[in-house]
Symmetry: C2
Subunit: 152 residues, 2 copies
């Protein structure tokens, strides 16, 4: 079943995050634990504000700064993928913390992970033709999601 796979992946991701945090001897505060859980469990590429609102339901005194700092920590550990946008906003993927393509709805801002052919061949072609040493990439497809195509 699809949902079960997902649950397993989420649990696995949380454990991975937790061990990385512990290995580096960072403290595992309740706020941090909550943020890690949210990132490990979400498939929606949440914004900082999304995460903030969710954390506050469990720990109402949590500061926005704590969310930013925990995300910075996870970035340092390579345990979250940050998708920065030109308007200054960010979206986060805690499930697949490595570069991968995204489909972005220009209307409702939903972001999904498509299962698509790898772009590693393009990366290799790039290296050969430009002489650059490619360390990472970013591939976004913009358009309308099925839901937004229906309601005009």
């Amino acid at each position: 079943m699809k949902n079960q796979e997902r649950s397993l992946r989420h649990e696995s991701r949380l454990n991975q995050m937790l061990s990385r945090v512990r290995d580096r001897h960072f403290r595992l505060t309740p706020q941090r634990m909550a943020i890690l859980q949210i990132l490990a469990n979400s498939e929606e590429h949440p914004t900082v504000e999304d995460i903030y609102q969710q954390v506050k339901t469990r720990f109402p005194t949590t500061s926005l700064a704590t969310v930013y700092k925990t995300i910075a920590l996870l970035k340092e550990l390579d345990e979250v993928l940050e998708l920065g946008f030109p308007d200054g906003s960010n979206r986060y993927d805690g499930n697949r913390p490595y570069p991968h393509p995204h489909a972005i709805c220009t209307k409702c801002k939903k972001i999904m992970d498509p299962e698509i052919s790898s772009v590693d061949e393009l990366s290799e072609e790039m290296r050969q033709k430009t002489g650059y040493t490619i360390s990472f990439h970013r591939l976004d497809f913009f358009g309308l999601c099925p839901e937004c195509q229906d309601k005009p």
Copy 2:
């Protein structure tokens, strides 16, 4: 000769920009002409500040706002490609005003246009697998350019 090709393309691009501006009955002021020339002639994906500094050598009283407004005009006419970055900065390509891959040096910030296999097949695969109607994309490869690889 490579440089000659480039000159021809630049001239062609400038003419294309000019006719679009005229067709829509926008006024062709000296400042606008200067900015169009800079964008048509540059291969370096200049920043707004780059353009501003160049324009000021010919028209010292030019305001930064005029540069922004002219770029906004060209975007409306689909005559310039804007590459927005998460830090809020932008780079512009007046030569190829349509989505195409870029190689970005993470050290010196140089951006180049690689001649690479098209990503249209990926776009099509995307459409089929996600149900999104893809209208444009963005593909960036990050790494070190040949020059920056040498000097550590």
